[in-house]
Symmetry: D2
Subunit: 134 residues, 4 copies
């Protein structure tokens, strides 16, 4: 079973634009919040990775937009680890409007684990175990 | 021949993050700047669309990241209209670091033309003509 | 007694910059979140104002920075209504790092109530009552 | 005579909000762009400071808003060095809408020069000379 996590957020005025809905790039910020909270939930707080000289930059990101969110909407961000490679990681996200759970956006991000010189490295065993609990 | 346009930008401090490179979602902001400037260049300033009650929300967006940009880097954003449907539009973008033209990111956005009630509508003839000059 | 409200937030990766701390302008976004939650808490959700054609643009904003926040820090945003004029409103904010309540930033914003044509107007009586309960 | 510099920017869609004008915190991003360009103009590119372990975090920031900017407006950001202390620096900014030079916003930021451990330090002589030319 793949690790997954849900988090509720409230749309900020700053996240909206002249169309009076959430600006499209902001969904990627919410994807980021979702994966950071998923990490925390697995006992893998991301700032601990950075303290060890590990980082996971994004190499690919995609979003498909189904409906729009407005200021002050309460939203639900669902994040799951969809694939763990030797040096890569794929998250999948859905963003829903609450209540009613209207799907607003879904998408994914792919990351590569790199060391402090930016070279791809394999996941340390204890991290890999938590990412793929088998 | 497809309409295309280039614009130079300078990386803002605000656009960077703790990894000391540009935050991944900011590339979508640059894609937006690129397509707005392409519209202007075609004599199709986007605010005129909004004044007529037309909008082109994003329905799909993707980026692939090849190298990172740092604060103060000068970058080149290339934008081209890759496909014009009856009610939809696809832009393709590349972002390069200058000088040297290292490819940092490429991606696309797909948009649907909607009226003021959010209903998809066909491109007015004079707009369609400028989008696909053939 | 002046209405006040507290809200906890988690620093997003997107909110940090190359200095590896929160970018200075982001505190104003948190001030915004603080005042919107204070409004909600008073039964004065801001989107109801906009539905009535009322808006409260910022006319002055100031922040003083005492210490910096890092990615993933938990912070506390305190917001209070410091002054209610006939057509204006002053909020005061403090942002603390948790746990320990280190003061990171304090500041204020001043707003003017305007109607849909941007003209300053007096607070409707039932809103004024909630803003200055005395 | 105090060093000063002007830069033209175009309002990005991302910088606007539900009120269909520029979000108030974005002016501080423009102030940042203004001072970075002023530094460049003085031969003091800020990234060179960071390479030497020097940084100038903001300790105080204020803006007063006079009129609003909309998407696609062309704006002029004026920045001047208003005061140079032993370890501190004050910038003043005005933001105008073009053409016509309507004043939209003015404000200031105060900075302290710190070393890599965050301790305030005096400006190196060759930097001080360029900041206060007279």
């Amino acid at each position: 079973m793949r690790p997954e996590h849900e988090i509720k957020l409230r749309v900020r005025y700053e996240e909206t634009d002249t169309m009076q809905v959430v600006y499209y790039a902001k969904y990627f910020v919410w994807f980021e919040v979702g994966r950071m909270e998923l990490f925390r939930n697995l006992g893998l707080e991301y700032r601990r990775w950075e303290e060890r000289g590990l980082r996971i930059p994004v190499v690919e990101a995609k979003a498909t937009y189904h409906a729009s969110a407005k200021f002050d909407d309460e939203i639900l961000v669902k994040t799951r680890i969809a694939k763990v490679g030797n040096t890569s990681l794929r998250f999948e996200n859905e963003v829903y409007r609450l209540p009613g759970k209207t799907l607003l956006c879904d998408g994914y991000t792919i990351h590569v684990l790199v060391n402090s010189r930016g070279k791809p490295v394999e996941f340390p065993r204890e991290i890999a175990k938590k990412l793929s609990p088998s």
